[in-house]
Amino acid sequence: MVETVKEEDRLDNDEYGTFKKALNLLAQERGEWAGYPMPVDGTPLVMHKRFPYPITGFQVPTPEDPYVFPDELGAVDEGEITFVNGWFSQQRGCIVSLYKMPDGKVVHEVMPQYGGPKMDFWLNTLGASRAWDLEHEERALEKLKSLLKPHQYKYYMLTGTFLETSKRSNVTYLFRKSRPTIALSMKKDTGKVSVLTTLCLHPLGYYKGSWAGVMVPTDDVIAHLLMMRGNEHKFWSKSNSHPLWSSAAGI
């Protein structure tokens, strides 16, 4: 009896295969060495400031414009609703924001940070992973292996994380697959470990509301590692810092 594999179970099943190849060819023709990102339906892209726009000459049908420069995010129109103040409530585990309406009334908005919003990040990341290729991840793993000590690579393969301490600043970094890097301060005399912040950065861009970059997760880790080693100051200045309680921190 011949056993057939269902189409959706095939490891090489790639719903965006043809489109990806076309984007890739176009990027190479135009000398875009890092390539063009793959738009994913329902998950808008946020690109770096210098990304050429528009890129392909056709519109991808998504609820919002997929190519949004970071500066435009969070813009509030003057004369309409204005942001007054906001804070994180430890007790309620939510962000409280105050807005002033055009009639002068102040209203509040409560945004829980646990449960639902974190689940959104998980699911959006899963959705965005459709843009990734398994082969690219394998290639990235080979590259990462060449940059790490054997025990670091072992930890990464087994846990998705590894540690490295900067000789320059003495900050210890916990690099994580598909999550922001965590900067730690470790005191040798007392053994105390404190979390400084989380650093989130993606080459080219990322999928909004997720931990997914436009490149495979290990490429993001490689970028973080190289920047930390080669230009730590720039690594901090280019990254977004997420507080530990936020969903974006991935803790």
Binding site: K20, L23, N24, A27, Q28, G31, W33, A34, G35, Y36, P37, M38, V46, M47, H48, K49, R50, F51, P70, A131, D133, E135, H136, R139, A140, K143, L147, R168, P180, C200, L201, H202, P203, L204, G205, Y206, W211, G213, V214, M215, V216, D219, I222, A223, L225, L226, M227, R229, G230, N231, K234, K238, S239, N240, A248
Partner: protein, 118 residues
Amino acid sequence: MEQVVLDAPPEEMGGVDVLNCGAGHLKFDFDSSQPKEVEHAKKVIQDMLKKGYMLFVNDGGEQKQVHSFDPNKEVYYLKFEFEETLKETPEKKKRGRPRKAVSMKGRRATGVGPTAGG
């Protein structure tokens, strides 16, 4: 005065790996004895730096960021650490300090595109 690190016996072929979202890693290998390959790699390196890509090379077992590239001398000039050069030339201010130069031949660089905070 720039320091030029002479080519060590090549442990690996010279080239550039670029993190790429469409093709995994783009690899530009060049054999130092093949002028066309070297020329092509130089163009790619210059174009990448012009477009704001970061290039990292291994220098003495440490990853260093490339500040600029001289295609005629075929060397990368590295971004220096302020503290390092302060020891060497304390009387000089940061501007005008000599940059360390490393040969592109027999050396593998890694290119990372412009970034967006996540």
